[in-house]
């Protein structure tokens, strides 16, 4: 399988600020790749370099087999881009903007355009100024999805869309995947990434800190087990990889690292399991583990900050 995006050792500085600090990223053709990270981690900078809008200071970048800076125009015929913050021309209608963007890219499928307008429930006769954020986002999405391209670069594409539209979006991404297209989806909506993506890269402070399939990444984190047992559970604390044990009469709750799950469940079974629920780690927990690292050293405020982060992420997921 060919590689759609291949980035290694990418560095981008703005004056003294280091936006990307040796970033590596691989997206295989035909996969939907989630690009996760907090605000300011470098997701947008990476995508702009992939688009040839910014020039990398160091590192190798290859996009659809070409160089994003020098082959920009030819590559752009084969990809579509949706920015996270869409600005439209105040004197152009949404319909005109869709046609314009698609034609500059090389044309669009009229039937598909009509279908997308209907599914996304967008009125194409309004001028750019009159659209809400969500509707501006739809304009860019429709222009991208109506084009027949190999690669979709989507930078937080559903920010501002309502949950119904989010479902429509997910449908189209699944279609795109079925049609063999490659998608790089930058997001901090974890539910979206969990549903859509084959592979995930987590970026933080300009570096990819984890990359792999969701299953692979789950191995890196802890499963939460809750069980009712016939006898009171003792001695779990001493097992390798077991954390946060809360035992109370015949109920027990603990977290266990992926590679020690087997040992923990064996130990538990000696006490006679009546019922057992296991919760796979959510991406929230994955993210928290990566972004929580910094916070642990910070004794006084760590709890507050953690709480904030959970709320912020959870909030983003709900919208």
């Amino acid at each position: 399988m060919a590689t759609a995006v291949s980035v290694s050792g990418l560095v981008k500085r703005y004056g003294r600020t280091v936006a990307l600090d040796g970033l590596d990223l691989r997206v295989e053709a035909g996969e939907v790749h989630g690009f996760l990270g907090p605000n300011g981690a470098g997701k947008t900078t990476t995508i702009r370099i992939l688009l040839g809008l910014l020039r990398a200071d160091r590192g190798q970048v290859s996009l659809l087999g070409g160089d994003p800076w020098s082959d920009a125009v030819d590559l752009h015929r084969r990809l579509a881009y949706v920015p996270g913050d869409v600005n439209l021309w105040p004197n152009l209608t949404g319909g005109e903007a869709i046609d314009l963007l698609a034609r500059l890219r090389g044309g669009l499928d009229k039937r598909r355009r009509a279908e997308l307008l209907e599914r996304f429930d967008l009125d194409p006769t309004k001028k750019g100024r009159a659209y809400s954020k969500g509707n501006r986002q739809k304009v860019a999405l429709i222009a991208a999805l109506a084009s027949d391209v190999e690669l979709l670069l989507l930078d937080e594409p559903t920010a501002g869309l309502d949950p119904l539209m989010e479902v429509v979006f997910q449908d189209y991404i699944k279609h795109a995947k079925a049609a063999g297209k490659t998608v790089l989806l930058s997001s901090h909506i974890l539910a979206q990434v969990e549903k859509l993506c084959d592979k995930i890269s987590i970026i933080r402070l300009g570096k990819v800190v984890q990359s792999g399939t969701l299953v692979e990444l789950r191995h890196l984190t802890r499963t939460t087990i809750e069980a009712n047992t016939t006898q009171a559970v003792t001695g779990l604390d001493g097992l390798p990889g077991v954390h946060d044990v809360e035992a109370e009469d015949h109920r027990v709750r603990f977290a266990v690292d992926g590679e020690h799950l087997d040992g923990a469940v064996r130990a538990l079974s000696q006490f006679g399991i009546r019922s057992l629920t296991s919760q796979p780690p959510t991406l929230e927990e994955l993210m928290l583990r990566h972004y929580g690292d910094d916070l642990r050293g910070d004794d006084l405020r760590s709890d507050d900050l953690r709480g904030d982060e959970v709320r912020a992420d959870g909030g983003a997921g709900v919208h």
Partner: protein, 551 residues
């Protein structure tokens, strides 16, 4: 009475609601001043330095009374100079003070007006358009606080400017530039600023876009200057329709009239009242006209890169074209009056001995150079359109398609250069038609048209500098405006001050043959065109190599 008040309990609440409309104004004024902490001092310092520095140089330029008398003849009896300067207050006893009133006041207040227009629009409509005002309005800020605070900021700035000018002029200690006159002089500056702050407050209610609001108010500054020019040349009441005319009617250092200052204040009050009434009739963020729906799909031409650039700039081209035609036509029709001046043999001999051209010809040459610079303002705005697209984040979406950077910029360069030529053409047609009709000599039409088009290379160089700056140092696109400002300075003051040759030569406009007064020469035009092409090439190459700046 007491019972009525007692039974109508909601009355105090209602009154409180009315009072609340201004809540937070003081905070907003401080906020505005904080945001403009560089801009305001820069404008004030710039205007004061040019004015006071210019005044300080006059005793050296015209040391004797004989020098001043000769200047009085040039300025007072020549219609071309009258149109540029003013009606000629105190021309019979042309003191340094009278020179300031006549040669500086009408010109300098244009910048005061521009400063006020930009300031009011920036703090009202632009804030609404960008959504920043929404954030503030959702806090404890009254409905009228934004407009009130913007006007208060403008009022404070203009007051400070008036005092600075008065102190600067009075402090020079030049004979006849006395303190009472300096206060009238400073007040004249301040009230022009106030009137245009009021005008901008009104235009900001009409349109949803900050740029359109400042465009309308800016066009009215042009109209105010034009109207007083025609009124002054024809020596008629037309000048009284112009706020700039009022400033000149106060005749500082000559008559020290305060009542035109009072008239300006009354008009300001009326404009401010109108602005508040209009703002009460519209929704937040909306204009006075309801938003219309339009084409659901793009026409065939919009899909091409050039068609796209044309679509974005179309309305600008049309409005500028109409305005340039009318400007040309009005100045051209003044030829009729000029011919009357020419009946005066003394003046005819004087002007013909200077330039070897007729009075009408030198008038037309002067007007053409002025119109050419105004056309350049259009070309520079058009050439800087890619920068606006870039900073608004829209360029990112477009450049992520198969449109190359060079092609994208080039489409806008085409509009700037061809559009600029088109502006010269319509301004020339307007002026030529006016001149031919006014003088009854159809030959003027072709002469004037050719003379106007000859300015194209100078216009191209200026717009090309904007392109080069965009490509290499995008944050310094103001450079192009500096050249436009410098060209205006040279055209306006080059004839009045004895500027050294190299200073005149820095302006591309100096190298254009001033037809119909002068003969046509092709070489400077060719050289300027080559320079323009070089600058465009630098800009296009530079933009290919740099990062796109995103929001």
């Amino acid at each position: 009475m007491t019972t009525i008040t007692a039974t109508k309990a909601p009355a105090p609440a209602h009154r409180a609601a009315g009072g609340n409309a201004l809540t937070g104004t003081g905070t907003l004024v401080r906020f505005n001043l904080r945001r403009d902490r560089i801009r305001i001092p820069a404008w004030l310092a710039g205007i004061t330095l040019v004015q006071v520095g210019g005044a300080a140089s006059y005793p050296g330029l015209y040391p004797t009374e004989a020098d001043r008398l000769q200047q009085a003849t040039i300025v007072g009896d020549n219609p071309a100079m009258k149109a540029m300067t003013g009606p000629g207050h105190g021309i019979e006893n042309y003191t340094y003070g009278a020179m300031m009133t006549n040669e500086y006041l009408g010109f300098m207040v244009i910048f005061v007006a521009l400063m006020s227009v930009f300031m009011v629009v920036r703090h009202t409509r632009t804030e609404e358009e960008t959504g920043r005002a929404e954030l503030l309005r959702a806090s404890v800020i009254g409905r009228r606080a934004h407009l009130t605070a913007a006007l208060a900021t403008a009022a404070l700035t203009n007051l400070a400017l008036g005092l600075l000018i008065a102190a600067g002029m009075g402090g020079l200690g030049i004979e006849s530039v006395d303190w009472p006159g300096s206060f009238v002089f400073g007040a004249a500056f301040a009230v022009v600023g106030l009137v245009f702050a009021g005008i901008a407050a009104v235009t900001a209610q009409f349109t949803e876009y900050g740029r359109a609001a400042s465009g309308m108010a800016g066009a009215l500054i042009g109209v105010a200057y034009l109207v007083r020019a025609i009124g002054d040349v024809g020596d008629n009441a037309l000048s009284w329709l112009s706020p700039i005319g009022w400033a000149q009617a106060s005749a500082p250092y000559v008559d020290d009239n305060w009542w035109p200052i009072g008239l300006a204040l009354v008009v300001t009050a009326a404009l401010v009242t109108a602005a508040f009434a209009l703002s009460g009739r519209r929704d937040f963020g909306a204009g006075l006209r309801a938003a219309r729906t339009s084409a659901p799909a793009a026409s065939a031409s919009l899909g091409t890169p050039q068609g796209f650039a044309w679509r974005l700039q179309r309305s600008g081209v049309i409005w500028w074209g109409v305005a340039m035609f009318l400007f040309g036509l009005s100045y051209g029709s003044a030829v009729e009056v000029i011919e009357d001046y020419a009946g005066n043999t003394a003046i005819r001999e004087l002007t013909e001995s200077i330039g070897g051209a007729t009075l009408t010809e030198s008038w037309l040459s002067m007007v053409i150079s002025l119109l050419a610079i105004i056309c350049t303002i259009f070309a520079t705005i058009a050439a800087l359109r890619p920068r606006r697209e870039e900073t608004s984040g829209r360029a990112e979406t477009v450049l992520a398609t198969a449109l190359s950077r060079t092609r994208w910029v080039a489409t806008h360069v085409v509009i700037a250069m061809a559009g600029g030529l088109g502006m010269l053409l319509v301004a020339g047609i307007g002026l030529g038609l006016g001149a031919a009709a006014g003088s009854g000599d159809a030959g003027f039409f072709w002469e004037v048209l050719g003379a106007a088009l000859a300015y194209a290379p100078a216009l191209w160089v200026t717009a090309a500098l904007a392109v080069a700056a965009f490509g290499i140092v995008p944050r310094a696109t103001g450079l192009a405006w500096a050249l436009v400002g410098y060209a205006i300075f040279v055209v306006y003051l080059g004839g009045l001050l004895d500027l050294p040759g190299w200073m005149l030569d820095l302006s591309p406009y100096t190298h254009i043959p001033r037809m119909p007064a002068d003969e046509f020469t092709a070489i400077p035009l060719v050289i300027l065109t080559v320079i323009a092409a070089g600058l465009v090439a630098i800009g296009l190459l530079g933009f290919r190599r740099r990062d796109l700046e995103a929001t």
